[in-house]
Amino acid sequence: MNVPALAGAGHAGLPIAGVATPGVAADYALRADGLRKNYGSTVAVDGISFGVRAGEIVGLLGPNGAGKTTTINMVLGVLQPSAGDIRIEGVELARHRSRALAHTNFTAVYAALPGNLTVYQNLRFFSLLYDVPAGVSRIEQLLDEFDLRRLRNTRSGVLSSGEQTRLALAKAMVNEPRLLLLDEPTASLDPSAADLIRSRIRAMAVRTDCGILWTSHNMYEVEEICDRVLFLSRGRILLEGDPRSLPHAHGASSLEELFIRLAREPLGSAPAAAAAPAPKRDAPGAAP
């Protein structure tokens, strides 16, 4: 499938990043169009457009304060966009909030689960909130899948960071989401735990065909797991493409180097973004 390397970034007439050209059928877990968030005169997200296909892992990259968390919060319905449109599985979030969020879930370090509930109680609480019909059997399955059985009756506040991440992921899977938003899911994990979590998520994406939007500051991780990356800076998408071919296409030796260059470039003059034609990329969901 052909994907434009240059992000639409909200300019009228330009293709939406990750949104297929007309005639190419694609299942979108998420589509955001002209998404913007202003706080007074501060523009946190500046009219971005992008999509996440079913089964695809899209990395949302960018320096601190670029607007990644703001974007995720808007998709989660806890922050109202100043402008723009969000569709989850084709359902418009602003108009059908409950229906759109029924098959969405997320993890974020800044949104820890209530520490005074046990692992089981947390999963039960959220399975009911997400209106999961066979909640109890689903929880038993998740306890095994995420190695939480031995911690079942432990209060989540005393879990180690890695264990909390596993619980957060189990909670995020409780409603079998079609769209998963992961805000720095491996930020506090040791390399081995992070590796395990990544392979779990990757396997899950392949198995369930769920679309994933993933933010991370670990470029090695992004290259390994993401099918595609969006590079956000000061609320705009500067660049978009395959994390393995992007650096080369833009004259950088690694994704890390490309990141640093883009992060330091003044807004509006992103020559890297203007260079190179759209690279061909692997099919979404394909193993790296």
Partner: protein
């Protein structure tokens, strides 16, 4: 509305209460202390006053009703504060949960916890002081209903306040019942009050309960239209409180407060 999300809010409170004596104790201890204190005050007044008024019925009964109202209100806010204390708003409101389901969950919790308080009070007041509570008969139902509905309204209002003003405004919420009590005539007839306070009292549903209770205990019967007014006002207050909560929730989603509640206020 779906049942599971409503049950989630109530079940979470049950989990917390089950394992937390610090949450259970206040549900029981404060009302018990009140009943014992006012029980003895009433008993003493019965021995020194020769007015023919039974203070156990009029005074202790009024305290019991008033404490029931505050327990309903606090039962609702308590469940809401759990989300404040555990910084849980993003997790809860990023689900398909509707505001109406959330509020219903809080109310269910308020019903359950206030019933525990009511039972404790009834047992103590009848057993220790011989309060003839059930002599009010079927009138108990409208009395409790008005207080219950108004407790819900104030609980939702208080939750809306804390959502808007931040966790520290909890300190503004606790004294609300004390602030209202002079106006609703818990301990004295509204006629005792100056005109402007009486006017405020007439806007507050509990005043109809206490006026009627005193009248019935004094053998003068009750006012059906008064009680209906109380119920109607309380229902109106619930609608107003739910509207206010929803508006503040919408503001919090628009302004970024909900997503960054730790900031306590944005912009």
């Amino acid at each position: 509305m779906n049942l599971r999300p409503i049950a989630a809010i109530a079940l979470r409170q049950f989990y917390l209460l089950r394992s937390s004596p610090t949450r259970v104790l206040p549900m029981i201890a404060w009302v018990a202390i009140d009943i014992i204190l006012w029980g003895f005050i009433s008993r003493y007044l019965n021995t020194v006053a020769s007015t023919g008024v039974n203070f156990i019925s009029s005074l202790l009964g009024a305290v019991l009703f008033w404490d029931f109202f505050t327990r309903v209100m606090q039962g609702v806010t308590m469940a809401f504060f759990e989300d404040v204390w555990s910084r849980n708003f993003i997790n809860v409101f990023a689900t398909p949960l509707l505001i109406s389901e959330y509020l219903t969950g809080l109310v269910l919790t308020g019903i359950a916890t206030s019933l525990v308080g009511l039972i404790v009070m009834l047992v103590l007041a009848t057993w220790l002081f011989g309060l003839p509570f059930f002599s009010l008969g079927v009138l108990l139902l409208p009395f409790l209903l008005v207080l219950f509905l108004f407790g819900i309204a104030l609980g939702v209002l208080a939750s809306a306040m804390v959502l808007r003003l931040g966790p520290a405004s909890e300190w503004l919420v606790w004294p609300i019942p004390a602030l209202l009590s002079p106006f609703v005539g818990v301990f004295y007839p509204l006629s005792t009050l100056p005109a402007w306070m009486r006017a405020v009292g007439h806007l507050l549903p509990p005043s109809y309960v206490f006026e009627n209770m005193r009248s019935v205990v004094g053998g003068h019967g009750y006012s059906g239209s008064g009680l209906l007014t109380g119920i109607a006002l309380a229902l109106l207050d619930i609608l107003l409180a739910a509207w206010l909560f929803t508006s503040i929730y919408r503001y919090a989603v628009r302004s970024g407060l909900l997503a960054r509640y730790a900031a306590e206020s944005v912009s």
